[in-house]
Symmetry: C2
C-alpha cells in the first residue's frame, strides 16, 4: 500500500515514500538514504506532541541516534533568528555534530523549509530528510529542494536550493489537519491538475466529499489508499517539472500558476488571516480570468475550475481587494524581473504557458473580477 516516487535530479536523485504508517521507517531511511547514524529532528511545538515521539522511536528502531528540537509553531517563527537559535543548539550538542549528522524536518511547510535551510547552511551542507505532516507540505514543499525563511520584506526571501536525501509522507499524519488546512493543500492539487493532469481535476471533484469527511473525534476520515494515490500523483507531477528545471530558470515557473496574484493577495490580507492555498485558489481564478479575457481559454473551463475549488471548500471570491496594494506587492516578488510581472496562463486543462506581457490593466480587471461580491 506504500507508493514510492523518485525525483530524478542528476546526481541528487531521491525517493519519496508515501503511505499510512511510513513514519515508522524514518530510522531506516536516515541510515540508508541520508547515510547517517545520527540525526537532529527539527519540528514545531504543535507537531512535536503528536508525532515527535513516533519519530524518535522510529529512529531508535532503525539504529539511528537522534535528538529533537522544536520551535514555536507558525509562520511567525520562519525567520533568520530561529535559524540562528537552531544552529546554536546544534553546535552545542555533545559530541559535536559532523558532516555525518543528518537533519530531519518534521511538520508543515514551515518546519520542512526551515529544517532544509538549517541543513543547507550547517557545516556547509548536511544531508536531510523531509517528513511533511500537512498536505500542502506533502504535495508542494517536499519536492524541489526550496528551503529558507521569510524576511519582513517578503516571504521566502532568504534561502537556498538544497535537495533532501529522501522524503517520507505518512498519510496518517494528515488526519490531524483541520479542514481549512486540508484545503490549503488541495489548492495545490488543483493547480497541478490544471497545469498537467486534467483527469485529476475530475477525481478531485468526485473525491471531494470523502477527502473532507471528519470522524467523531474530529479527525479526517479519508480513505488512506485514496490519499496515498492523490499525494503520489501530485508529487510525481511536481517531480517531473522540477527534474526538467531544477533551478527555476524556465519550465519550473509553470508551478507558479495562481501564485502571481496569489502572493499579492496573501501579503495584502496577511499570512495569519488567509492560508497560502486559499490565496492560490483566488490567484488561479484571477489567472484564468485573464486567459478568458485574452481568448486563450473558454469560459466553461474556467467555470469548471471554480466549481471544483468550491467543492473543496476553497474561496473563489474575496471582496474588497485593493488592486493598487496587490500590484505593488507583485513588483517585489523575487521571480519578478526588471519590474515586469510574470504570469502562468492556462490555454486548456493540462496546457499552460508563461506570459511576460500581461498589462497592469489586465491584472486590474482580473483582481476586480475576484473581488466581486
Amino acid at each position: 500500500m506504500y507508493k514510492t516516487v523518485t525525483v530524478p535530479l542528476p546526481g541528487r536523485e531521491y525517493d519519496i515514500l508515501i503511505g499510512p504508517g511510513t513514519l515508522a521507517r524514518l530510522g531506516e531511511w536516515t541510515r540508508e538514504h541520508a547515510r547517517a547514524k545520527r540525526a537532529v529532528v527539527i519540528t514545531e511545538t504543535n507537531i512535536n506532541p503528536l508525532y515527535g515521539e513516533q519519530a524518535l522511536l522510529a529512529m531508535a528502531e532503525g539504529g539511528a541516534e537522534a535528538v529533537s528540537m522544536s520551535f514555536p509553531a507558525g509562520e511567525v517563527s520562519k525567520n533568520l533568528d530561529t535559524i540562528g537559535a537552531l544552529l546554536k543548539a546544534m553546535f552545542h550538542l555533545e559530541p559535536a555534530i559532523d558532516r555525518g549528522t543528518a537533519v530531519v524536518g518534521l511538520g508543515g511547510g514551515v518546519a520542512t523549509d526551515m529544517a532544509g535551510f538549517v541543513a543547507a547552511i550547517c557545516l556547509r551542507g548536511l544531508r536531510w530528510i523531509a517528513c511533511p505532516t500537512s498536505l500542502l507540505a506533502a504535495v508542494d514543499a517536499s519536492v524541489g529542494g526550496k528551503t529558507g525563511v521569510d524576511h519582513e520584506q517578503g516571504k521566502n526571501l532568504i534561502g537556498a536550493f538544497h535537495q533532501p536525501s529522501g522524503v517520507i509522507i505518512d498519510v496518517n499524519t494528515l488526519r490531524s489537519l483541520d479542514r481549512r488546512e486540508l484545503g490549503n493543500g488541495l489548492a495545490e492539487c488543483v493547480k497541478h491538475a490544471v497545469i498537467r493532469d486534467p483527469v485529476m481535476l475530475d477525481e478531485l471533484a468526485n473525491g471531494a466529499a470523502d477527502l473532507q469527511t471528519v470522524d467523531e473525534a474530529g479527525h479526517l476520515a479519508f480513505d488512506a489508499e485514496r490519499m496515498t494515490e492523490l499525494v503520489a500523483r501530485n508529487v510525481a507531477i511536481k517531480a517531473a517539472v522540477v527534474a526538467e528545471d531544477e533551478k527555476e530558470s524556465g519550465l519550473r515557473a509553470i508551478l507558479n500558476f495562481g501564485h502571481t496574484v496569489g502572493h499579492g493577495v496573501e501579503a495584502l490580507i496577511g499570512y495569519d488571516v488567509i492560508r497560502h492555498g486559499e490565496a492560490v485558489s483566488l490567484g488561479m481564478v484571477a489567472a484564468n480570468r485573464i486567459s478568458v479575457q485574452r481568448g486563450l481559454l473558454d469560459s466553461a473551463t474556467a467555470d469548471r475550475v471554480e466549481e471544483v475549488l468550491g467543492k473543496l471548500a476553497l474561496p473563489i471570491r474575496k471582496g474588497n481587494l485593493n488592486f493598487d496594494a496587490v500590484w505593488r506587492i507583485m513588483q517585489h516578488d523575487k521571480k519578478a524581473r526588471d519590474g515586469r510581472v510574470r504570469f502562468v496562463l492556462a490555454r486548456d486543462l493540462g496546457d499552460v504557458a508563461i506570459y511576460d506581457d500581461v498589462t497592469k490593466d489586465e491584472v486590474r480587471a482580473a483582481v476586480e473580477y475576484v473581488s466581486q461580491p
Copy 2:
C-alpha cells in the same frame, strides 16, 4: 600582463583575472560574467576608503548600476547577525532587488566569504563576483566556492558552497597589506608548494626579499609581475584540486595540509592574536614532524620547509602550547568524522596523502616539537 586562470567546474566554470589594475574591469565583468546590470558591493570599513570608490567607478564605466555596503572590518563581524543586517539593507533597496542583481565581495577573506554567503542565501541564490584584496583571500578564499560565517562554537560553521561567476584579483590592492598580513597569504603559498609544486618552494625562497620590500610610504613594493605570477600559480593549483573534488569528499582534503593542528592552535591562541597563515605555518611544521617520525619524509626536507617559512617571516615555533586544549579543539573540526582526526602528511615535496590513523601520542609529540623554545 594580466593572467587568467579558469576554474573548470562542470556547469559552474569561472575565470579568475589577475594583474595590476584589474579592478577597473569590475563593471565589465559584472555585466558579462555575472550577467547583471545591477550589483551590491559588500565591503569592509577598512577597505571601503581604499578601494570602494574605484570599484563603484569601475561599475559605472562598465555600465552596471551599483551601491556599496560596508560592515565593520574584521573576524568579529563574520557572523549570522551581520548577514542578517546586510540582507535587510538589500531588501530595502528601491527598486527591489531581483535575481538579476549581482553581489560583489570586495576585501579580505571575511568580506569575500560573507558576500558569497549573502549571495548564496539571498532570493535562493544570486550570482556573485569576488574581488579579494588580501593575499590570503586571493590565493585561498577566491577558489572553491566556500562561503559562510563563524559561530561562537567555531570558525566557518555556518555556510554554503556557492561558486562565484568570476574573480578579479588586482595585485595593486595587495600593496596596502602590512607584512604580517602578507605572510598570512604566503603561508598558503608554501602549503600549495608542498602539496603540488616543489619548484615554487625555491621561488618563494628566492623571491622572499622582493615580496616583503616596503617603500618609504610603508607600502609593499613587490614587482607586480612577480606577484601576478605567484598568485596565478597558486590559484591554478587550488583550482585543479577543487575541480577534481568540488564538495570536499576526498582529494580536496589535501588542501588541509597544515590545517589540522593549525586550526587547533588558532582557536586556542585566539583569532585576534594569531593570523590564520601563522597558525597554518605552525601546523605544517607539526604535520611534517609526524611525517618524519613515521619515516615518511626525510628530515632534510622538513628542515627546508621550515627554512623557507622562516625567510617569509612566518613562525615555526610557538612556546607554551597546551596540547590537551589543542587536541580538544581538533575534535570539533567540521572535517572530523566520528571523533577521528584526519591528517594530510607529506611523503616528499609535491606528494601528500591523507591519513586517518594518526594517534593522539603522535599529535602530542608534534605539538611538543613545535612548542619547544
